[in-house]
């Protein structure tokens, strides 16, 4: 036994065989499960958008989505219009929520005008404008669905992340952080300013809604800076559209 497995030829054959077996197995598993995974992601987008406009099952402390079984129906009920904004053109498209924001950002770098999806939701006779945005945290991507009124005052927000540190940056999708954004004005005296995740803003209870700041999470400085940068640069792109709503 010792001799056989020590031979170079055996070693090489074993390596090739192993790679083939494992590669086939993984490729098979990935393509077999892909439809399920894609469906889960699609439902999650609907849940996220609904969450931002306040259609959720939050209890006292925790952020809870509507169930995946109810999501498609509620999405139809509450989302009145889905828009694609491209430059000065605004088009309706009921598949706009499937637009890949990451891909659009890459396109924009290559000089192709970016498609900006915007969802118009209506709840209790109030209109919500929900924008999906994406940015960088400490380790990987962070993204958000931001629900605003027509004056760009935030009405609700859902943050998520790919791989921020558990217990620190990962807490951006907890209510104590997300709820702070509700009521914050993205503008300051009519000029777009964004909202900064600020350390030491002396307002931990977040009572001042016009300071363009929310209280940061301790130990998550870079994630917080990423959120600030994302809100500022991405939501600014939507400003021209909101200007047209004033007329």
């Amino acid at each position: 036994m010792e001799n056989r497995t020590d031979k170079n030829s055996y070693t090489i054959l074993f390596a090739i065989g192993m790679v083939l077996v494992v590669g086939t197995l993984l490729a098979f598993a990935a393509s077999f499960l892909k439809p399920n995974i894609d469906e889960n992601k699609r439902l999650e987008k609907q849940q996220n958008i609904l969450y931002a406009m306040g259609v959720n099952e939050n209890d006292e402390n925790n952020a809870n989505f509507v169930s995946t079984t109810d999501a498609p129906e509620l999405f139809k009920k509450y989302i009145e219009k889905q828009l694609i904004i491209q430059g000065a053109d605004v088009a309706e498209d009921d598949q706009a929520y499937l637009i890949d924001v990451k891909k659009e950002q890459t396109n924009a770098k290559a000089g192709i005008e970016r498609k900006l999806p915007l969802f118009v939701g209506k709840k209790d006779n109030t209109l919500f404008y929900i924008a999906p945005i994406r940015g960088k945290g400490l380790w990987d991507a962070v993204w958000a669905y931001v629900a605003m009124d027509k004056n760009m005052v935030i009405q609700g927000v859902f943050f998520d992340h790919k791989g921020e540190t558990a217990g620190l940056g990962a807490n951006i999708n907890k209510r104590f952080f997300m709820d702070d954004f509700i009521g914050e004005d993205l503008k300051n005296n009519g000029v777009f300013k964004g909202i900064a995740v600020a350390k030491g803003n002396a307002d931990p209870l977040n009572k001042d809604k016009t300071d363009n700041e929310v209280d940061a999470i301790a130990g998550a400085t870079i994630t917080g800076n990423g959120i600030s940068a994302m809100l500022k640069s991405e939501l600014k792109l939507y400003e021209p559209y909101f200007e047209t709503l004033k007329n």
Binding site: T11, A15, V22, L26, A30, L33, N61, G163, T165, G167
Partner: protein, 214 residues
């Protein structure tokens, strides 16, 4: 332990205390420091490692006579990576919420030196059943320490357990906070995990002098 012979039972109980992978062998420290800021993450990581180490040990043990010794480490690595990817895909397809909680940990499992250590030290030289028990035992030993560290870090650092406030509200100053208690922000930083692990090692060795090295 009627099901297991005395020797087999030892494979499970040994790593829980006197041969603990973290406090005695000092393996798997990186993940123990990185993810123990909250109890839930510690628990999830412990279960993930339990699963991967249990199955991985069996797979390696079954292959132990055909693995060429020159490339055994890379073969072990492929087995762990393949297992982890499959687990990740299955979770994404059927338990999406859970897979999001796991996100970072999946990658961390591959780099956990306890797994490679058990493959190399045990599974390559023992049968599948013994290897399975050894894997479970070591993963439990690892998990216990993770959960202890996570418990203290979340309690003292954030005043919560599993995300539920247990000491009152630090901002509205209720419960313990009304008496002037403050969360220790340093507890949620990785250095404090090292210190907590150090304290566990200290306690363990002062109770059992046989563990003290010269």
């Amino acid at each position: 332990m009627g099901l297991l012979s005395k020797k087999d039972a030892k494979l499970i109980t040994d790593p829980l205390a006197d041969n603990n992978p973290i406090t005695i062998q000092v393996l798997g420290i990186c993940s123990a420091l990185a993810i123990t800021a909250e109890l839930k993450a510690s628990l999830v990581m412990a279960i993930s490692v339990l699963f991967v180490l249990g199955i991985g040990n069996v797979v390696i043990s079954l292959m132990r006579n055909i693995i060429p010794s020159k490339i055994r480490i890379i073969v072990q690595l492929i087995v762990v990576a393949a297992l982890v990817i499959i687990v990740d895909l299955v979770l994404k397809a059927f338990a999406y919420e859970l897979s999001k909680t796991l996100s970072v940990f999946v990658g961390l499992i591959i780099t956990n030196c306890i797994i490679m250590g058990r493959f190399e030290a045990f599974a390559l030289g023992n049968g599948p059943w013994k290897s399975f028990l050894d894997g479970i035992g070591n993963a439990l030993g690892y998990g216990v320490i993770l959960i202890i560290v996570g418990f203290f870090r979340e309690l003292l650092g954030s005043g919560t357990l599993f995300g539920i406030p247990v000491l009152g509200d630090p901002i509205a100053k209720t419960g313990l906070y009304s008496m002037g208690y403050e969360n220790n922000g340093f507890m949620i930083m990785p250095p404090m995990a090292l210190i907590v692990v150090g304290i566990i090692i200290w306690v363990q060795r002062s109770r059992n002098k046989a563990l003290i090295e010269d």
